[in-house]
């Protein structure tokens, strides 16, 4: 009898069960653990107190990103500059000390490979298909773009993984999000994921692991897939997977931490067995027509508040659900918007191009293509470009993208999370509005009172040069 067709998720799960308890909870082995400075100090401290070692330091990689300043980090002689905020400095020092004490690979803030943990993992080949990968950060979902079962965990779980290299988990339900058709002019993977979240809602994926399928996803670059998988958590799903294919393998080959030689060949043979079997069943399926997606953005304070750039600010009364009506009214009040306004008439004061969603080389290229030969509009107070890693930054500089941005009036920064969560000095002041390529438009996310509109890099660039939320297609039509 043929065995039951399995999904990618079920295959990875099955290969990582150390032990199944009677109540169905499984002890799952973790192949890769990424650590950053904000969610790890309390975990290391707990290990120290209990006198426990890190079980597999060799499967763990640490890099500071959330709290590092994005202004220059070294002086002319290459010496590290002090960090102004004493609390940030303390967290960075704690990570340095903890990784040293427990023997964990560590990329320092001034190392050329430093960057946002979710940019660094794939870039170094630390992230591999078919592995289980965790990090104390909800956007760990991003690594699912390479076919890794990757999800965010809390600090107690960070401690659990450090001590045991396992987690106790119950199997999630599966959801297929199938995206088919070709994307319209200037429509990007960011618009695709915003459209998906707009459709399923901010809690639509709760309890599920999403698998993104369909020709639109297959046609995306690895960078584009990372953008899509990254925001799975904004739809409530702890993880988002994309089946590994030849593009994935070509992307990984030769990366410093990827297998090589015979190990590579064995890995490849295994990876090819991973894609979901024909006829595999999902608990829920959603279909998205890619050709119907326009450049998209958010109007409110939940990532599900998505409209097309050609739309208007919705009227809260138009929502059927009373709690949604109430939430929409509050959102509009916070955002300083009135129902019926054309999205394109909304002026902005800040532009942020960065974050683990959109700070890779393709994102910077897409933004530069819009900016080239133009200037940042006068009303813009700050336009920041924060590359996802030192390697992305160098690549962009080699391509001359930094000149395009700087000449137009952007600030060209050092890699880190920056204005995505406003933990370092990069913040949007209260009451001011930002077109941002990040992933969360929550109240206060980019600073207390900050108003965020989530957009693609090309749309953020269009906002920078026009001083308002603009349809990038109008700017690019003549090019």
């Amino acid at each position: 009898m043929a065995s039951k067709p399995l999904t990618l998720y079920e295959k990875i799960w099955a290969d990582h069960v150390v032990e199944r308890r009677d109540d169905g909870t499984c002890l799952i082995y973790i192949d890769r653990h990424l650590v950053h400075e904000v969610t790890s100090p309390q975990a290391f401290e707990a290990l120290r107190v209990a006198g426990r070692p890190v079980r597999r330091p060799d499967l763990t990689l640490a890099v500071p990103d959330h709290n590092v300043p994005t202004t220059p980090r070294v002086d002319a002689a290459g010496r590290a500059l002090p960090i102004a905020d004493p609390q940030s400095a303390e967290q960075l020092q704690a990570l340095r000390q903890n990784t040293s004490d427990f023997g964990i690979d560590y990329i320092d803030a001034i190392a050329p490979e430093q960057g946002i943990v979710h940019v660094v993992g794939p870039e170094q080949g630390f992230t591999l298909p078919g592995t289980t990968l965790v990090c104390g950060d909800s956007h760990t979902a991003a690594h699912g773009a390479l076919g890794a079962l990757a999800f965010g965990i809390g600090t107690s779980e960070v401690e659990h993984v450090l001590a045991t290299q396992t987690l106790l988990l119950s199997q999630s339900k599966t959801m297929e999000v199938r995206v088919e058709g070709s994307l319209g002019f200037a429509v990007t993977p960011k618009d695709v994921i915003l459209a998906i979240i707009g459709r399923i809602g901010a809690s639509g994926g709760t309890g599920y692991v999403i698998e993104y399928t369909g020709d639109t996803i297959c046609d995306m670059s690895i960078e584009g897939r990372l953008t899509v998988a990254n925001m799975s958590i904004e739809g409530g799903a702890r993880a988002g997977l994309i089946a590994p294919d030849d593009k994935t393998f070509a992307y990984l080959k030769g990366r410093p931490m990827a297998p090589a030689g015979e190990a590579w060949e064995r890995a490849l043979a295994y990876w090819r067995t991973l894609p979901s079997d024909p006829g595999a069943q999902y608990d829920r399926s959603v279909r998205i027509d890619a050709s119907a997606i326009a450049p998209s953005l958010t109007w409110g304070t939940s990532p599900e508040d998505v409209v097309a750039i050609t739309d208007r600010v919705p009227d809260p009364d138009s929502f059927a659900d009373p709690s949604k009506r109430k939430a929409a009214r509050k959102s509009l009040d916070y955002m300083g918007l009135t129902p019926g306004m054309a999205m394109q008439d909304i002026p902005v004061e800040h532009v942020f191009i960065g974050s683990c969603t959109n700070s890779r080389i393709e994102d910077l290229r897409a933004a530069a293509a819009v900016v080239k030969g133009r200037k940042v509009a006068d009303r813009i107070r700050q336009a920041l470009i924060v590359p996802g890693s030192g390697l992305v930054k160098r690549q962009a500089e080699a391509e001359g993208l930094d000149r395009i941005f700087i000449e137009a009036g952007f600030e060209w920064r050092e890699p880190g999370c920056s204005m995505c969560l406003a933990m370092n000095p990069d913040k949007v002041p209260a009451g001011e509005r930002c077109a941002s390529t990040s992933n969360r438009n929550f109240v206060g996310r980019q600073g207390p009172g900050a108003r965020t509109h989530l957009v693609s890099p090309a749309m953020a660039a269009a906002a920078a040069v026009t001083g308002r939320l603009a349809d990038v297609r109008d700017l690019m039509a003549g090019n």
């Binding site: 967290q91 107690s156 409530g236 190990a263 406003a422």
Partner: protein, 209 residues
């Protein structure tokens, strides 16, 4: 962890939907290397509004919080659970929770109680002026008015709460099974070793011991 059998007392009758972790504890409070002291930053943006439920003396120090669907969505920061615990909250009642938040809540002895919206609405009404009891033995939420709502919990998590078990300690007792799994992987999937077959793998800072 202390065992949790029952959480009883006043409750914040809040009901807000899609409460994200940036609302529970804003990012600038995360620059700490400690677990304690986060109550000061809890619900900072909500508390900036006059007449908010958290500064209402009737509910000061309540062990229960009642919220709307998708409570704790957003980031994985366990600081959200630590902040609630620091406020003295030991149970949150809502129609649904984000997966990461509910896992963080359990690990800090906070019971995430899932009840249908109608039950939540009723409890908000009751909590305006009465106490509520969440009982883990009977798996019920009750009020002084004969309301009785039953809820479900993952059996393993319920056991951990009832017995106050240390999950890391429990898993460490499975050391043999983990070692056996690891040796199986070493032969079946040797490429799992970071940089397998690739001697040029960089090692920064500390390196491996």
């Amino acid at each position: 962890m202390k065992p949790v059998r029952q959480v009883a007392g006043t409750a914040y009758p809040w009901g807000a939907k899609n409460v994200d972790t940036d609302v529970i504890i804003p990012a600038h409070w995360l620059k700490t290397v400690l677990r304690s002291g986060l109550a000061k930053g809890a619900f900072e943006t909500v508390r900036a509004e006059p007449g908010n439920v958290f500064d209402d003396p009737r509910y000061a120090g309540s062990p229960i919080l009642i919220a709307g669907e998708n409570f704790g969505c957003g980031s994985s920061r366990e600081h959200a659970a630590w902040a609630l615990a620091d406020m003295g909250v030991a149970a949150v009642i809502a129609p649904s929770f984000s997966d990461i938040f509910s896992s963080n809540a359990f690990k800090n002895g906070i019971v995430p109680v899932v009840l249908p919206q109608e039950a939540v609405d009723r409890l908000i009404e009751v909590a305006e002026s009465n106490e509520i009891t969440v009982d883990l033995e009977t798996m019920t939420v009750t009020t002084p008015f004969q309301d009785r709502f039953t809820f479900d919990l993952d059996p393993f998590r319920r056991q951990c709460l009832l017995e106050g078990l240390d999950e890391v300690g429990l898993t460490l007792s499975k050391d043999t099974a983990i070692s056996k799994y690891e040796s199986g992987v070493a032969s079946a999937r040797p490429w799992i070793k970071v940089g397998a077959g690739n001697e040029s793998t960089f090692v920064h800072g500390a390196g491996r011991t």
